[in-house]
Amino acid sequence: MTTAPRPTRRGALGGMGLGALAAGLAACGGDPGAATEGAGGDAVEFVFLGDVNQRKQFEQLFAEFGEQHPEIALQAVAKSGSWAQFTYAVATQIAGGQPPDIIQMATEGQRLFASKGVLAPLDQLIARDQDEVEDYYDDIHDNLRLWSQKYGSPDGSTYYMPGGYNPIVQYCRTDLLDRAGVELPEDGFSWSDLMEAGRRLKAQGVFLMTVEQGYWHDVLPWLTNNGTSSLDEDWATATINSPEAIEAAAFARELVAKGYSPEPGGTYDAPSLMQNGQLAAFHDGAYGMVNAARIELTDAIRMVPFPHNGVHGSPVGWDAWDITEASERADEAWVFIKYLMSVEGASFFARAGGTIVPARHSVATSDAFLEGAPEGALCLVDALETATPVPSPERGPEIQDIVEEGWLQIIAGYAEPERQLKRTYDKIGPLL
């Protein structure tokens, strides 16, 4: 019989050190490239972007799904922050070997995830439930389907079912406009109308509208309403220094310089300014309806398209549902996606106070979405006709930062539009 050697103190200490090092490496490094491993647990894991406000609506939706499909356990995981932060959090989760089953993915991350082989093609599931899918496609705008395919598929397969969308429109407080003698045009202000309205409102001590630097929220609306965008249609070439973009930036700056808009770079909150009677208009997507309700001015607000320069347009982002390649519950995940696509699911979410426009036209134009909305809320639906997808190439977050910084310099008056947008163009080029 042999006896095991007695561990020495030195050996034990060494072992502790090596063990700790190994544990440290395992804990910190994860399993790089583990995206192909199966998701753990018994429930279908659905990851979505949700702050404390949105989470409540989602939870009601999940509870409703649970009642209809008690056989499917759903684990809904909210991640808060911006879409860029959400994308990073999900990527980290995948890299850590714990991929979810469904990722609610915004425009900003769709190309990135589809091009990395993280997602499973949905074609077979779509073919299997063709009637339900066709019913959905028939009720959503063709653009949503086309864009999801164009920008979210590297190889012709279908990876995403498009969901709700968000264009930018203008929320106008009519009593302030009336007092200043400004008539609100049905199709939104032209840029020359806007200057005149700004002059009249300033005489009343009221700001016309906000001018800021958020990429989707503030920069792109000026560009798309002047017939351009930050990148071309294929997201392959920067167009941020086009004559139309320069004109748009100069116009936005003029609103600030003339005192029609608050100084950018501060900490003001547009809806609160409007509530105090200091601001006649702010722009937003469907989330503006939540803000209008928050400041208790829903009845005093009218929604119109964003100010245009002869060309109507809007940046638009949409969320989309997918199934990860690693999912071991693809069939159950697909049941949940079909629920999200259904009239019932979409209506329930819209009624609960969703912050996006439902993809289904029938729901977006129904009381489920419009009840309690400011007058003119249908302009959100109409905007999809002339909208331009938020340019989101793989290195989109960096590009977004560069555009925002350059734009801020222009609207704050520290840089001349043409020169600054040329610099912005030069910085973006190597990232495409």
Partner: protein, 313 residues
Amino acid sequence: MSAAAALPTPSPAAPSPGRPRRRDLRQNWLGYVFLSPAALLFVLFIGGPFLVAIALSLYSWDLLTPPEFVGLENFTTLLQDPVLIQAFANTFLFAFASVLTHVVGALLLALAVNALASRVVSYLVRTAVFFPFIISWAAVALLWQYMLDPGFGVITHYIDRIGLTPPDWFLDPAWALPAIIGIDFWHTLGFTFIIMLAGLQTVPKQLIEAAQTDGAGRRQVFWHVTVPMMSPTLFFAMVVTFIGAFQIFDPIQIITGGGPDDATLTLVMYLYEQGFQSFRIGYASAVAFLVFVVIMAVTLLQFWGARKWVHQQ
């Protein structure tokens, strides 16, 4: 007796200074036991990640696809990255300004407080100066954003009232970094101040009194007694302030996000952007390694320089 005989003869049993003997280990086992939790934490949360980061800097990895070994490519890219050069310059400027303002400001403040006759006033001033340091950076950043707001900021308002045109602090590339330096000074001065005050109180009164008896004036006492005696404290404050300043992140991330036009982009901000926004984990690791090397080099340089001016008792 010869000189050689006067020298102590090393005993064969005497421990060599370099390698602890087995008996010493046996005698000191309790010390190693108490050290082990700290050592374990170090390995888990500092040593391990550090080694992983070095390894990752040799890879191209976007989190979603398997890492690809690229050798030193990330480091060669570093050398040609104009944004990194800007971040490097900003970081050094910030660190240099921090060391200068914190050490000088804290020393002067400590001298003033040390000279106060009233204990009550002295404690009140100490509390007031140290208080900002215990406020989280998030709150400090928001507070100063409001104070310097171009629309309704109280500082902007008073500068305006005395007839000057206040800059848009966080929008003007010429003012953004100085504004951040100012905020950091307000927030972190208390820490350096407490160190200085502690150092000042260790200066032997007998030496000061002796110098005064010999006819030294206040200035001479300060330069020839106080400063030399405080030199270890000054050295510690400089090293710690530089390391802290080189790692500045929170206020910049919250207030300016590295803007305007990269004017406040620091190395750690850039590292964060590359790793956490652009999914360039390998490149971000290379930047992290660069930050480590620079801090290590400057700290060693400070230690080397300290031999010439730090007074050892």
